[in-house]
Amino acid sequence: MATKARQQARKSIVIPTPRLVEDALALAGRYKEIEALRRYAAERRPLLQGASAAFLFIGLACGAGVFAFLASVGGWMTLPAMMLAPLVALCSLFVIFYIFYSWVEARALAGALGHRTNRALAVESWLRRKANIDLLARPDVPWIAAGLLVALPLGLLVAAAPLVGVAVLLLAIASPLVYARMDAA
């Protein structure tokens, strides 16, 4: 029953609507108002700052990806690309930070309650066993927004500048893993 209810609650943030903005504000409110969560974040400030810097770079890379791809189509696309890139970067940052901080919150809750709040996937179990990386929880991912505003721009970056794109993709994958490893240490 609890799992089903959780799924119901999560459904609301799968689709990118103003509800996602509401959920992001509610998440920020919990970091601000709930003593246990505030303290959890304060104790990990350097780690969170490091991860945030990495995600800031990835968000900016999303904007750069859109610019690089559109500009490579033809000179006439340069102006629209210049106008679109900052907007994409901002929206990407919003989605990336929402996902990251909702994951950090879920990790805090799993740690405090002494149990996972969802069942571990095979890859999560493998990471825990082989690399001592315990993801502990999964974030609430707004899939459509993440697809449009993070995955697609990164894909465009890979298409326009493969080496840089792959490096950013690796950074995006490695950042949460490094965070989880260092948090455990």
């Binding site: 029953m1 609890a2 209810a5 959780r6 119901q8 609650a9 999560r10 609301s12 959920d23 509610a26 409110g29 919990r30 108002e33 709930i34 003593e35 246990a36 505030r38 303290r39 919150e105 879920a106 809750l109 405090a112 309650l113 709040t117 609430d140």
Partner: protein, 234 residues
């Protein structure tokens, strides 16, 4: 029980609280009322150790607490029901309540306190496995109050408990506040809804632009012409 003396709080150069002093005697309901932006929430966030006042003193049961970390203040017995409820939507009701019992003072008696909270809010007991995010605003407020009680506070600070709730639910929340007070808890109530907070409080302070401009018994202020004109539109 709680005493605030000449408290000054700044956000950058902007002064949010200017020489605020108040007393919260044990076992009473004390209300802080005022318009939006008067400094009510800043005051309780300062008491809770979230904001760092520039000057003044705060003491709880005779012990100075200004400058203590917020978790240390909670552990002394000051609980807070935050504005906007702030429940964890993906956790169940019971998990949300458990999150309130993380303080050292509350850990040992967690199970016993949980049963007490369920006794006080039977609807939470019935829906203990339901995700908090799927519940109504009033029910979420009950969870927020229950979570605060799990920390075994002696003084509970309510920040705008009626915000965003239907009038009938507001009455229910006020009834709960009265009932908590009847069980011996001291209450500091911050509320924009001046009429209801003055009705249930033993004593009240009116804040304007970060200053206490009036104080007195709740019923007394309720009949004060200036209060009626400024806050009740009468």
């Amino acid at each position: 029980m709680l005493a605030v003396e000449s408290l000054d709080l700044y956000y950058g150069d902007a002064q949010a609280l200017a020489g605020v002093s108040l007393q919260v005697p044990q076992g009473e309901i004390v209300a802080i009322v005022g318009a939006n932006g008067a400094g009510k929430s800043s005051l309780i966030r300062s008491i809770a150790g979230i904001e760092k006042p520039r000057a003044g003193g705060i003491s709880f049961k005779g012990r100075p607490i200004r400058g203590l970390e917020s978790h240390a203040i909670c552990n002394l017995g000051i609980g807070q029901v935050a504005e906007g409820r702030q429940v964890f939507p993906s956790l169940t009701v019971e998990e949300n309540l458990e999150m309130g019992a993380m303080l050292p003072r509350a850990r040992k008696t967690r199970e016993q306190t949980l049963q007490q909270v369920y006794g006080m809010f039977p609807q939470l007991a019935e829906r203990r496995s339901q995700a908090a995010g799927t519940m109504s605003g009033g029910e979420q407020q009950m969870i927020a109050i229950g979570r605060c009680l799990m920390g075994q506070p002696e003084l509970v600070m309510f920040d705008e408990p009626s915000l965003g709730l239907a009038p009938l639910v507001v009455q229910e929340v006020l009834h709960t506040i009265r009932s908590l007070n009847g069980r011996g808890l001291t209450i500091l109530l911050v509320e924009q809804n001046v009429a209801v907070s003055l009705k249930i409080s033993n004593h009240a302070y009116v804040l304007e632009n970060g200053r206490v401009v009036m104080s007195g018994a709740g019923q007394e202020l309720l009949h004060d012409d200036r209060v009626r004109q400024a806050y009740l539109g009468l």
